[in-house]
């Protein structure tokens, strides 16, 4: 890794970044069954995304994202980690 690895900056603290977490396998299966879709049909997130790197998620994982919508409600969405 280049010398910029010494960074103390943590992207998660920024106000634009919603809460991300890796979904455990059992839960991921449950979610996909509920939605009735293949994981590829979810929106994607690249494995090189700074947040994914921090979570140490691998391609094939599903990330659960909790956004706060402009109306003040909590919205849960998922993204599928892809190579890139």
């Amino acid at each position: 890794m280049p010398s910029s690895r010494r960074k103390q900056f943590d992207p998660i603290t920024h106000e634009l970044v919603p809460k991300h977490e890796v979904l455990p396998l059992e839960e991921a299966v449950k979610v996909l069954r509920e939605l009735g879709i293949h994981p590829q049909k979810l929106p994607w997130i690249k494995a090189s995304d700074p947040i994914v790197q921090q979570l140490k998620a691998k391609p094939g994982d599903i990330i659960k994202i909790e956004r706060i919508s402009p109306f003040g409600t909590k919205v849960v969405t998922y993204r599928f980690v892809v190579v890139g």
Binding site: P11, L16, T73
Partner: protein, 392 residues
């Protein structure tokens, strides 16, 4: 007044309905019931919640509703009323910021760099009220080259020397001292040379001891002029403004990755109008949120009231595959599954030809392709198929 018993019952009901109705709506409902002038019965409470649920479900998007088309129309129509004026002085009088329609197009086109890159840097608690400190940080950010502080540079052809005369006014303005310039010059990789400094006369003479080519001397002159004294590349100017009770730095130019590493900066609030920098440093979800905010801000500034949900769907489509994609030929539209839908948009022949070469198949599931061949589209009532039951 509502009795305590009922209040308790309402809270229980709220818990029960949490799965169906969003929390903030439930909260509104709860406080409305609590502040009633008269007492109500548990049966009435049940009825209220039932009606609220019904009303909420009614207001949701129906299956088969063409949300994308509605979003496109709802943003497109007000867009026709936007001013075409590119520049607008947004509060900061020294900085030009692209606003209005040009900025909207810029966001939706997902340009790599905006036409007027800009940053808003907030500082940590301990610095944000200290003008001197903030000014000092702002000066440190500004990209300053030797060129910016010299009043003249002369070439002494006889001695193969460069004579720099510094401008004290410019130096004060940029916050650069004489020794800063000298150390910047010393850091340069120049061929064998001697530096002669004279601070009283504001003059620096660089004599090249082992040079015989005049062309190289001219090249070295350029090199010296472009030498960096301080600052971050890309940040042309930094201006300090008082906002509320704190001082904020506005910059002309943007370099999020570098600014975020500065210890004085409040990295939770830092802002830039460069969406790609946000994607790179903060991730795709932040980019999505940023697109929504920026589009909403541009529309609000023009006094146009567009519902958030239309903007959300645009941002969702733009960030669908993990990178910011433009709405257009090289992004959302260009990657549609259907050949006919792509061909109908732009460069028709190219798409048809390529599809033919790769033996692609048209599934006829989308809207555009079905309209082209004159088939009912699968939207709204077209989504359901009815079969008559013949036995009776």
């Amino acid at each position: 007044m509502v009795s305590d018993q009922i209040k308790e019952y309402v809270s229980k009901k709220v818990e029960e309905y949490k799965e169906v109705i969003p929390e903030n709506k439930l909260g509104e409902l709860q406080s409305a019931i609590m502040s009633l002038e008269i007492d109500i019965t548990p049966e009435e409470v049940d009825r209220i919640f039932e009606l609220a649920k019904e009303e909420y479900l009614k207001s949701l998007v129906q299956p088969g509703e063409p949300v994308g088309i509605v979003a496109a129309q709802s943003i497109g129509e007000p867009g026709t009323q936007m001013t075409l004026r590119t520049f607008h002085f947004a509060g900061v009088r020294e900085l030009n910021v692209t606003l209005g329609l040009p900025r909207l197009i810029e966001i939706v086109d997902a340009r790599k760099t905006p036409s007027t890159p800009m940053m808003k840097i907030y500082l940590k608690e301990e610095y944000k009220n200290n003008v001197e400190k903030v000014l000092e940080i702002a000066r440190r950010l500004e990209y300053t080259k030797v060129q910016n502080v010299v009043s003249s540079i002369d070439i002494d052809l006889a001695n193969f020397a460069l004579i720099l005369t510094l401008d004290p006014d410019m130096m004060r303005d940029k916050g650069v001292s004489f020794s800063d310039v000298v150390s910047a010059l010393k850091k340069l990789k120049l061929p064998e040379h001697e530096i002669e400094e004279s601070e009283e006369e504001n003059r620096i003479t660089i004599t090249f001891t082992n040079l015989s080519d005049i062309m190289t001397l001219f090249k070295l002159r350029e090199k010296v002029l472009n030498a960096k004294i301080k600052g971050l590349k890309g940040i042309k100017r930094a201006i300090v403004r008082k906002e509320g009770d704190e001082y904020v730095i506005y910059t002309d130019g943007s370099d999020l990755a570098a600014v975020v590493e500065l210890p004085e900066v409040d990295t939770t609030r830092i802002w830039t109008n460069n969406i790609f920098e946000i994607q790179k440093v903060l991730g795709i979800e932040a980019a999505r949120a940023h697109i929504v905010r920026e589009i909403k801000r541009v529309l609000d500034e023009q006094g146009l009231d567009v519902d958030y949900r239309h903007i959300l769907i645009v941002a969702d489509m733009m960030t669908r595959d993990g990178t910011v994609k433009q709405v257009g030929r090289h992004g959302v539209t260009g990657e549609k599954e259907s050949i006919l839908a792509r061909a109908a948009f732009e460069v028709t022949v190219k798409h048809l030809l390529e599809a033919a070469i790769h033996a692609e198949k048209e599934e006829f599931v989308g809207v555009v392709e079905n309209i082209i061949i004159g088939q009912p589209i699968r939207l709204g009532t077209g989504m359901v198929e009815l079969t008559m039951r013949l036995t009776r």
